[in-house]
């Protein structure tokens, strides 16, 4: 049978998916081992043991100066900023996306502006945000919003435009008002696409969060890895990177699960990644 027609069983699929992860850890362990044979005090590729120990210390031993469990303080602060930013972005995407996608006059007024605005590299706005909002939480959340909202609004507006015209006409012949079409037709149809936009928006959101924290912050996952960089503390940086990745992965899967549970009709037609 041709290779395109062979599909792996569930178990094989799981093992195949696991393989690249195991290979990465293995390659790292071997490389680290040989570096430390040359120089036992090597900081560049610390052993898996020492990374686990450092991570455990961050998670369970209170910091000497502040008395905080740093990992959890960093995680909570970062997730709060991320959550606030994405809440604002999602709300904007929903309201403006539907307005732009559904009402031609609003589309004419806002679509070119939005297309232009979304091309501003968000990180160039960061100094402006720091100057206007100060160095506190507001400027970090604002950066996430500036970085993710334009694309999410455009994706949502496109989702509205992608609703077949036939359905909107059918709704009109069933006597629906514009508001009713929004609540009964447009909103339910785009919510799964909004979740997709949110999942894709989370990728740049993490970048902007870490960047903002690296530049001006006193807590947060991004702040921490840039702080310990000064001591070449790879045994903290590497587990933090893995931790951030894990958080991002779990968030993504939770959103996918939500979409599958809440919008079963949307997932009947094809498999989504």
């Amino acid at each position: 049978m041709r290779i395109i027609n062979r599909t792996p069983s569930r178990r094989t699929a799981f093992l195949l998916g696991f393989l690249p992860f195991a290979a990465t850890v293995l390659v790292y362990a071997v490389a680290s081992h040989y570096r430390r044979l040359d120089n036992p005090a090597d900081k560049l590729l610390p052993s898996l043991d020492s990374m686990a120990a450092a991570f455990w210390r961050m998670a369970t031993v209170p910091d000497r100066r502040s008395g905080d469990l740093l990992l959890w303080v960093d995680t909570v602060d970062s997730l709060w900023r991320l959550g606030m930013g994405m809440t604002v972005s999602t709300t904007l995407a929903l309201v403006l996306g539907i307005a732009i996608g559904f009402i031609p006059h609003i589309r004419s007024a806002l679509a070119p502006y939005l297309a232009t605005f979304s091309l501003i590299p968000p990180i160039t706005i960061l100094p402006i945000l720091f100057i206007t909002f100060g160095l506190g939480e507001a400027s970090k959340i604002a950066l996430i919003v500036v970085g993710t909202a334009p694309v999410m609004i455009r994706a949502t507006a496109q989702a509205v435009l992608d609703i077949p015209r036939e359905m909107i006409i059918k709704a009109e012949t069933l006597g629906a008002s514009v508001w009713q079409m929004v609540t009964r037709l447009v909103l339910p149809q785009i919510l799964p696409r909004l979740i997709t936009a949110l999942r894709l928006g989370l990728v740049p959101a993490w970048i902007f969060l870490i960047s903002a924290e690296a530049i001006a912050s006193t807590t947060g996952l991004g702040y921490r890895i840039f702080l310990v960089r000064r001591y070449l503390a790879m045994d903290i940086i590497l587990p933090y990177v893995v931790w951030i990745t894990l958080l991002a992965f779990v968030l993504d899967r939770l959103l996918l699960l939500l979409s599958r549970r809440a919008f079963r009709w949307h997932h009947l037609e094809g498999e989504a990644l």
Binding site: P164, R165, E166, M167, I169, K170, A171, E172, T173, L174, G175, A176, S177, W179, Q180, T183, R184, L185, P188, Q189, F263, R264, W265, H266, L268, E269
Partner: protein
């Protein structure tokens, strides 16, 4: 009911062009209430455009369409129901939710949604209809879980939920198997007899057009410029009354057969 003498639908000197290209020209028709009008013609002859104008989805370039003596509204309204070839039902609603939607929109102007007892009674009210269209067992399924024929039965039933005076069908059975089509024809004819509505149906299938219609309209170009095939639009070239109690096939002018043979 319309007053005697006023046709349900009157088409007056209708023309439609997209930019420079004329699609339809000089279409004049009077359609009486209760007529089942089937529309055939080659691809690109404007029959679907004609239907979209009857629906107010598009505006005529010239001329006018009157419904009961009044000009058509500028946008689709509940007095004209529509069934498209696809995308006619709402994929995010189950079968029964699709069928009660019109009632929900009417009774709950703000949310467009009924709750509790009102929702339950709406569901009970469509019980007979579900039986009628053979979807009782599938009432809780989403359209993506239905066959093509079931989807179109649902679409027709949904289009009738506002009891439109005029029902427009744009190749509703074009994607269905021949065996399924026969069932659909029976359903459609019995609904037409009951509801006493006027039907316009665009189809590619000439047998379907003869079997269902009481009046057959053939759209074709009558003027041809070989140097510029797009120079002229189509119009109604044959307007044949059909009667349903005949036994054999009807007499057809040879060139109508020719037109229809070239249709895909």
């Amino acid at each position: 009911m319309t007053s005697a003498g006023t046709p349900r639908v009157a088409v007056k000197n209708l023309s439609k062009s997209y930019g420079e290209a004329p699609i339809l020209e000089r279409v004049n028709l009077d359609i009486d209430a209760g007529c089942f009008c089937t529309i055939v013609g080659a691809s690109g002859c404007g029959k679907s455009t004609f239907l979209r104008m009857l629906l107010s989805q598009e505006r005529p370039t010239q001329g006018d369409i009157l419904l009961d003596g009044q000009s058509l509204p500028d946008e689709p309204t509940p007095d004209r129901g529509i069934v498209f070839q696809k995308y006619s039902v709402f994929p995010h609603l189950t079968v029964w939710e699709n069928l009660i939607l019109a009632r929900e929109l009417e009774q709950a102007s703000l949310t467009g949604r009924l709750f509790g007892r009102a929702r339950k009674s709406a569901r009970e009210s469509i019980d007979g209809l579900l039986d009628r269209i053979g979807l009782k067992a599938a009432a809780d399924r989403y359209p993506a879980q239905l066959s093509g024929g079931m989807q179109q039965r649902l679409a027709i039933a949904q289009a009738l939920s506002k009891q439109p005076q005029v029902l427009l069908l744009d190749e509703p059975f074009g994607a269905l198997d021949p065996g399924i089509r026969v069932d659909m024809h029976d359903l459609l004819l019995s609904l037409w007899h009951e509801e006493n509505m006027t039907i316009f149906m665009v189809t590619h299938d000439i047998h379907e057009a003869f079997k269902l219609g009481t009046r057959l309209l053939v759209f074709d170009k009558i003027r041809h410029d070989p140097q510029a095939p797009e120079a002229y639009g189509a119009t109604v070239t044959y307007d044949l009354p059909l009667s349903h109690d005949k036994t054999g096939g009807p007499e057809l002018p040879g060139d109508v057969i020719e037109i229809l043979r070239t249709a895909p």
